[in-house]
């Protein structure tokens, strides 16, 4: 579907149409909205996009998002414990773990998970960088917080095999039932793990 509109408008629609979740119709709607807004508002959006691409890159230590050429706010926070590292797949997972307020160490972002079918193996992930950090930062506990799906668990298994000979504590986050859910709807694998990881109650 190309070119009903003249040059610049069509270019804008095409570019917007490449964004995730934005189809041709939505792209058209956003484009026409942008044509109507004050020039200053449009310029602010354009400037924000340019700024984020210029200034933001990955943290040099943990591969979280950070200002270009610097470390992220978590790595530079002196109140954080440096001996503990939580390994996650994506920067978005850091946000999820942070929301729990249960973890006071640093992170390491792998930037993906092992997925043979997509051609992604350990070499495509930030695994070597993790090994370097363990040595250099005196890390003695690694918490594996990859997604509990088949790729994430293969990644956790791979890392566990790689890390446990180093004589550090390697743990994986527990999996079980979501709080507020119904037992009846739990799948066998999850419920099985919840039983396996049961805890003593009372004293």
């Amino acid at each position: 579907m190309s070119g009903v509109y003249a040059g610049p408008v069509q270019d804008l629609i095409d570019e917007l149409g490449r964004l995730p979740g934005v189809g041709p119709k939505s792209a058209q709607r956003i484009a026409f909205h942008l044509l109507k807004v004050e020039p200053a508002d449009a310029a602010r959006l354009a400037a924000a996009i340019i700024e984020v691409k210029e200034r933001v890159a990955f943290c040099e230590r943990c591969f979280n998002i950070a200002e270009r050429g610097a470390e992220c706010s978590i790595c530079t926070d002196s109140r954080r414990e440096t001996s503990m590292v939580c390994v996650v797949e994506e920067p978005r997972d850091i946000v999820a773990v942070e929301r729990t307020q249960e973890f006071r160490g640093r992170y390491h972002v792998l930037q993906g998970a092992i997925s043979p079918i997509d051609g992604i193996g350990p070499e495509q992930l930030k695994v070597r960088e993790l090994l370097v950090r363990i040595e250099a930062e005196g890390i003695d506990e690694v918490i594996l917080a990859t997604n509990p799906n088949i790729e994430g668990e293969a990644t956790a298994t791979y890392l566990a095999r790689l890390l446990s000979p180093l004589g550090i504590s390697v743990t994986k986050i527990a999996s079980g039932l979501p709080v507020g859910g119904d037992l009846e709807y739990a799948d066998e694998l999850t419920l099985g793990r919840a039983l396996e990881g049961r805890r003593a109650v009372g004293e």
Binding site: I114, P116, I117, G121, I150, Y158, L189
Partner: protein
């Protein structure tokens, strides 16, 4: 439009939007089906771990007008927990799922292929055999009409045979040789796999010959599909 039921093996999943996935499923009665599983990526999804690659499930699907059906219910038939915790098994299973995903056509019923996949996955989960993926590949290739000729030299009928060539579709003797060399042990294993003694071949412990057969099976499958299988080699060394 309408609801239908089927059982199938999840071959592959793709993220869709915020919390959904597209799942590609090798079904028993409907060939390969691509369907949307809504909300599977949420922690409270009713599907939970049931719709992950390698899961064997009973499904209820909703047929839409478009290309993609919608999964409305899923119930586990077989689950293979050790595929999730054992990298060798995981990579063998990945290679098989990838090959089936390439081979199977949408809405073209192929019950043999479905049954072979289910059996092969059970074997991967239950045994340590290094030849499951290779055995599966060779069997699938013969189902597809590409059974290599192993009795004598393809070109002159002579013996002993020393080489295997994919273009010739079989083994070759010293004077006709082309393709790659094949050891007598590997040849014996291939004859077992294709000659109705798969069980015996699967009991073979890992050796140079099993690696050779495994390698050859991967090459043959890639040759047949006319594309690379990405699962092969990614975890080859681990």
């Amino acid at each position: 439009m309408s609801l239908y039921r089927d059982s199938g093996v999840v071959l592959r999943t793709f993220k869709l939007g915020e919390a959904d996935r597209i799942v590609s499923i090798m079904t028993r009665n409907n060939g390969k089906v691509r369907a949307v599983a809504k909300g599977v990526r949420k922690t409270r999804s009713k599907f939970g771990a049931r719709l992950e690659p390698s899961s064997h499930v009973n499904l209820q699907l909703y047929r839409t007008r478009g290309d993609l059906d919608i999964v409305t219910q899923a119930e586990t038939v077989d689950r293979f927990p050790n595929l999730r915790t054992d990298l060798d098994r995981f990579s063998r299973a990945s290679a098989m799922l990838e090959a089936v995903d390439q081979l199977a056509q949408e809405s073209e019923v192929n019950r043999r292929l479905y049954e072979m996949l289910v059996r092969a996955l059970r074997t991967v989960a239950d045994t340590e055999s290094p030849l499951v993926a290779a055995g599966f590949f060779w069997k699938v290739l013969s189902l597809e009409g590409f059974e290599p000729f192993l009795d004598a030299c393809v070109s002159c009928g002579g013996e002993p045979v020393v080489a295997f060539d994919l273009h010739e579709g079989g083994v070759l003797c010293q004077s006709c040789r082309r393709g790659r060399a094949i050891s007598p042990e590997a040849l014996a294993l291939m004859r077992q796999i294709l000659g109705g003694q798969l069980g015996a071949a699967l009991n073979e412990p890992i050796s140079a010959a099993t690696n050779e057969v495994d390698h050859l099976a991967g090459e043959a499958m890639e040759h047949h599909l006319e594309r690379r299988l990405r699962s092969l080699g990614v975890l080859g060394q681990s």
